[in-house]
Symmetry: C2
């Protein structure tokens, strides 16, 4: 039985037929941080009910955006991972994230927060200068003491919620600075001058980031 469709011969409508249901794009956001088990997804998506999560994952697999693999260690579990087609949603997520940045004012008391949710706007900010310099590498994002990894590779950009073993650069900043950078109210150079952004490392990538 086919899913509900807009029945319009339009690329946007077709994309929304696949992605438009509740939670779908947020699941993709989680999976952009790397392979995830069902329980991890459920933990990082507070409010999603178990059946809706299972249903969305099934749809994502059948639409070719996600693969599912069973593992037996440490426990029997399903691991979900984005396919290449799914990873190509990164520009969609960064565009949406960029548009939504001004809506991110003060946190609501009931808001959940995860560090890797801020990787999306930072990728949007840092990937262009890295690409312009013809570089690729990784950077740790240290946001209010919590670390996540940015894969600053124009050919295969992404992020993870764990720090890298040997990052090419390490960025220290707080939430307010991150928001200001995401909204383009502040340039990286100005943030460095202010002292609210610190970029460690002596690799070409770290230097390129400092000059961005």
């Amino acid at each position: 039985m086919p899913r509900r469709s807009y029945d319009q011969y339009c690329a946007l409508s077709r994309a929304l037929d696949v992605l438009g249901e509740r939670w779908t794009l947020l699941i993709v956001r989680e999976l952009l941080a790397g392979p995830r088990r069902y329980t991890d997804l459920h933990a990082d998506l507070p409010g999603v009910s178990t059946d809706v999560l299972a249903s969305r994952l099934r749809e994502l697999v059948s639409d070719g955006l996600v693969t599912r693999e069973r593992v037996t260690r440490p426990a029997t579990a399903s691991v979900y991972e984005l396919t290449d087609r799914g990873r190509r949603l990164l520009p969609v997520l960064t565009a949406l994230s960029g548009w939504g940045a001004p809506l991110l004012t003060e946190p609501h008391p009931t808001d959940a927060v995860r560090a890797h949710w801020f990787a999306l706007p930072m990728l949007d900010l840092l990937l262009p200068p890295v690409a312009a310099a013809g570089l690729a590498g990784t950077a740790d994002l240290v946001l209010d003491e919590v670390v996540c990894l940015l894969r600053l590779d124009p050919a295969d950009p992404g992020y993870a919620d764990a720090p890298a073993e040997r990052p090419d650069a390490r960025l220290h900043l707080d939430l307010a600075t991150c928001r200001a950078l995401a909204e383009r109210r502040l340039t990286p150079a100005a943030a460095i001058a202010e002292g609210t952004l610190r970029i460690e490392g002596d690799t070409p990538l770290a230097k390129a980031l400092r000059e961005a």
Copy 2:
């Protein structure tokens, strides 16, 4: 009473709180073609029920993406128009449209079709070369005999479903060519060589498009 929210401190979630409901982004797509009356919107969004359309428009107005104005000529009507904030959704729509392009294979028998729905992928294709050349202007898109207007102005891109009075260029192509271009299976240069794309005009903009 507040609307349903994901309650996540994340720019993407915030964007989806505003845009994630059914029909919302398709209404924005329609309004990117210029001011529209309620009846026009209802006609170009087959399947949307009157109450849902009215409700979405109210939400869009209250979220600052759309303005509503009452006019009395030719008849008493409401005219809806995107605000600047709403127009800034163009990159989001082109990203989604670009991702969805490969899903646009053969039309389903029940699919609706409108010429200006193809303006989105064409803007995505043509805006970069126009911007790179430092130009701005308008072009008519003649798609299987149906015409719509592309506003190829990097500072204020958009489209309309009516032809321009004096377009700087005029593009003739059919649906299959349009799809191939949108998916990047075909370059404009190759399409011109094949004869499936014809670009008329002797303005700098027309020349830039031919060289793209």
